[in-house]
């Protein structure tokens, strides 16, 4: 177990380096610079700015310097938000994105398992059909379609919930973004749980469990659910990525000050350090999350733990 952990973390270092390098040179190869859009600056001022952000130095030196400070945890100053360092901006945005993502994941797991279990219990009868049609629609409706519809319904018409904003993350401001974000994941998890359960229920060991005299619910929730959750657990890795990219849209629609906003704006404004910082944080989060998922999988399935 520990060996696996160390191995995976060590493996992460070259991956993160690759991500940073790729992004760094991609950014620099692109036409346009961070200060192009603003008013024509005098050569002198431009010189000063370039000096401040080390833009006057050779590219490889900049790359080396950036890596050096990044290793020490300093992601440099933002180009766009003059008074902020990238670390500060991430410290502001990351908790917001994490909060939405975390709640959305919980919601998705809860309702996904419920819906999937329900569908499997009534497999191939009409409740199953209804549940699965709901699930397919859930998967097939982009969240930027759902979000405006929800806003139209709950905020504009009924006026129960705010149209957008954050307000320090009070719950009325959380409801719509979290629900919207979790929607496709509820559907995906429900489908996985259903097919997982159906497959497990056809296994001989389920017959053994029934022959013991266990009730249908004991068989379903004790013996079948745990092995059936395995595909769901594997799915959580990609789901985490989806939650992160999905929140870019959600943050934009609901006007939430999360990390996604930095990313898109940063990219449009050529805010090199900010984009690099966000990419790095996302890379680390994805890696940690996949590691977590792997550990969970091993805990759930003793057969994997040995290999």
């Amino acid at each position: 177990m520990i060996q696996m952990l160390v191995k995976r973390l060590l493996w992460g270092i070259p991956v993160l380096w690759l991500i940073l390098t790729l992004t760094f040179f991609l950014l620099r190869a692109a036409p346009g610079g961070p200060f192009d859009q603003e008013r024509e600056l005098s050569a002198e001022v431009e010189q000063l700015i370039a000096q401040k952000y080390q833009l006057d130095q050779p590219l490889m030196t900049q790359y080396g310097n950036y890596l050096k400070s990044a290793v020490q945890g300093d992601l440099g100053p933002s180009f766009q938000y003059a008074d902020y360092s990238v670390n500060q901006l991430i410290a502001l945005g990351l908790p917001v994105s994490l909060k939405i993502g975390f709640y959305a994941l919980l919601l998705a797991l809860f309702f996904g398992v419920l819906l999937g279990g329900f569908a499997a219990t009534y497999a191939n009868r009409w409740p199953d059909l209804v549940a699965m049609i709901v699930a397919v629609i859930g998967i097939s409706t982009p969240n930027f379609v759902i979000a405006p519809l929800l806003i139209l319904g709950f905020s504009v018409h009924m006026q129960w919930l705010p149209v957008g904003g954050w307000s320090g993350g009070q719950w009325p401001y959380l409801v719509l973004p979290v629900v919207t974000l979790s929607f496709p994941f509820v559907a995906a998890i429900a489908r996985l749980v259903r097919s997982g359960l159906l497959e497990v229920l056809s296994q001989p060991f389920i017959q053994t469990a029934r022959a013991k005299g266990l009730s249908t619910y004991q068989v379903l929730f004790k013996h079948a659910l745990r092995p059936a959750m395995l595909p769901v657990v594997s799915y959580l890795g990609p789901a985490a990525v989806g939650l992160m990219t999905g929140s870019v849209v959600i943050e934009q629609i609901f006007g939430i000050p999360g990390m996604g906003r930095y990313f898109v704006q940063g990219a449009l404004n050529r805010d090199y350090t900010l984009v690099l910082g966000v990419v790095l944080v996302i890379g680390i989060m994805m890696m940690l999350f996949n590691l977590l998922v792997d550990m969970l999988y091993r805990w759930l399935d003793p057969r994997v733990a040995k290999t």
Partner: protein, 570 residues
């Protein structure tokens, strides 16, 4: 009718709705089990015997299953009419069951001890601690070493035999009145099979329970059952005291079933099959005497050597550790030498994992050897270039075990048999090649009209015939049969064995016949090699091996074969 009657099945009929329509799995079946009695339920796959067992516990999934009529009386109550809640108190408590596949019958994500103690807590109201203690006792009772430690194991950490012991411990945990065993030893090696059978017998005596023992192998229940019920095509065709079935079976199907299984002591020239005793319409036939002539194995010692194997080793690396380095080796084949003469059949027997299959594959260079050599007709097989090897392959062929996996599901059987011809006889015209394919399919007793069908449209036995036709397509002299009849029902097995013998006589073929089944090997082989842990521990003529085994392992294997001799009835 009887006071000590425990369970009686009366006029039971069960149907299944399938894509092909309604299939009747059990048809008007009746029999009874008395307290302390063992009933053997015998039949081939699909004869309805497992469905019967499941229906006793109310485990038939409905739909697609449908119990159309009948009753199952257990101590005065009809189990079929019993509400689910009451039935659950009987399952695992009064009546319990041991299934065929120990590999998949235990839940892979729970410790085995937990799975046993679950029954105890469910039916006996024991505390967690008490249940665990009882579990350890049970595991000790069924002969699992170090039960304290083993109770904490997961199923995949136990061997097949141990898993089946765990299943048995689970089944007897509540001291049931009836234990249903559904082919409990079919997936196990002979020596393990013998141990498990002995265990079951002992347990039955200790607990004075009744047993319903389901099997396709009459030999297995001979010394276990008091009475035998024979099922054929969903119907009971015969019921008799065990001793009587073996000596004076009435129904032609029972006779066929008894005759088609090779016996160690008398080897007929050909095995009689069910179709020798009755025709497709179910009318009784009398088998001709000629077939029952004892087999005379010609001395083939003076024949020239076709295959010479010298110090062959095939080792598989086990990788592990931090950088996935090779840590040790599995010595699947570990220094094997032997020769095979032209026209003879060399049998290789051994239990699973002894290296016999790897040996067969290595001989044909389907698996890279670690060291040693194989000479075929004087040609060094391992030294051949890929191109020469491909040409050589037309002379040496293999027939695999699983008839379902050995044909490409996306090729018609015609294409499958044609493929080797396309490779090795490209100069022949297409018409000629097709004629050859049609001829081959006739030789294995199939109809040339079926050539453009796909494999899934055929039964297991038919597919194995197709595989044989494919192997024969390029006129090989030498064929490795790797457990080629193991996946087949006994009567089909007999037919395929007969076919292999006929082909050998017609074409002067040389076989290496790999099997775990000593009786089958004895029937077909001239000489037999016994394999254990990658080595051939004994190699001699079949007769000598069976009559006068030298090696203790050979002795052990022979002792483990069910004798097929009924015990004295109670």
């Amino acid at each position: 009718m009887n006071n000590n009657q425990l369970l009686s099945i009366e006029h039971l009929s069960i149907e299944f709705n399938t894509h092909e329509g309604v299939v009747r799995a059990v048809d008007d079946l009746s029999f009874a089990i008395k307290a302390g009695q063992t009933i053997g339920l015998v039949g081939e796959s699909g004869s309805g015997k497992s469905v019967t067992a499941l229906s006793v516990l109310g485990l038939i999934p409905q739909p697609p299953g449908n119990i159309t009529s009948g009753a199952i009386n257990y101590l005065g109550d009809d189990l079929l009419k019993m509400p689910e809640k009451q039935l659950r108190q009987i399952r695992g408590n009064d009546i319990s069951m041991v299934f065929q596949e120990p590999m998949t019958s235990l839940n892979p994500v729970f410790r085995v001890g937990y799975q046993i103690s679950e029954v105890l807590r469910l039916h006996k109201n024991l505390s967690k601690k008490q249940a665990w203690q009882k579990t350890v006792e049970l595991m000790d009772w069924v002969g699992i070493p170090e039960p304290h430690r083993r109770a904490r194991s997961y199923p995949h950490e136990l061997s097949g035999g141990q898993k089946q012991r765990v299943m048995i411990a689970m089944a007897i945990a509540c001291e049931p009145k009836l234990l249903i065993c559904d082919e409990p030893t079919t997936a196990l090696d002979v020596t393990i099979q013998q141990q498990v059978l002995e265990l079951l017998q002992q347990l039955q005596k200790d607990l004075s329970m009744s047993m319903l023992f389901i099997t396709h192998d009459l030999g297995v229940i001979a010394d276990l059952a008091d009475e035998v019920v024979v099922m054929y095509r969903s119907k009971k065709v015969e019921q008799a005291i065990t001793a009587k079935i073996f000596t004076e079976a009435h129904h032609p199907y029972s006779k066929g079933l008894l005759a088609c299984r090779p016996k160690l002591h008398d080897n007929p020239q050909r095995l009689l099959t069910v179709s020798d005793f009755m025709n497709a319409a179910g009318e009784e036939l009398t088998p001709t005497l000629a077939q029952q002539q004892p087999q005379i194995k010609a001395d083939k010692n003076h024949h020239e050597v076709l295959l010479r194997v010298n110090e062959l080793k095939t080792h598989f690396p086990i990788k592990g550790g931090f950088f996935g380095r090779v840590q040790s080796h599995v010595k699947a084949v570990d220094g094997v030498s032997f020769t095979v003469k032209k026209g003879e059949t060399l049998g290789l027997v051994g239990e699973s994992g002894c290296g016999k299959t790897t040996l067969g594959r290595t001989l044909l260079k389907l698996q890279r050897a670690t060291s040693g050599s194989v000479h075929y007709d004087g040609i060094d097989v391992f030294a051949q270039s890929p191109k020469d090897m491909r040409r050589l392959r037309s002379r040496m062929q293999i027939i695999f075990q699983d008839p379902f996996a050995s044909l490409n599901p996306r090729m018609t059987i015609g294409q499958a048999i044609m493929e080797p011809l396309n490779i090795h006889r490209p100069e022949d015209s297409k018409v000629l090649r097709w004629e050859r394919v049609a001829e081959l399919i006739k030789q294995v007793d199939l109809n040339p009209d079926q050539l453009n069908r796909f494999p899934h449209e055929f039964s297991g036995g038919q597919r194995q015939r197709i595989s044989i036709a494919r192997a024969l397509a390029v006129d090989p002299e030498f064929i490795v049969c790797d457990e080629s009849v193991s996946a087949l029902d006994v009567s089909v097995q007999a037919q395929v064995l007969n076919l292999l013998l006929d082909l050998q006589a017609q074409r002067d073929l040389t076989y290496i016949f790999i099997s775990h089944d000593l009786s089958v090997v004895n029937f077909i082989a001239d000489r037999v090699g016994v394999m254990n842990q990658g080595k051939i521990v004994e190699l001699n003529t079949a007769e000598e091996i069976y009559r006068n085994p030298q090696n203790p392992y050979t002795q052990k294997l022979l002792d483990a074969i069910p004798k097929g001799v009924p015990r004295a009835t109670k």
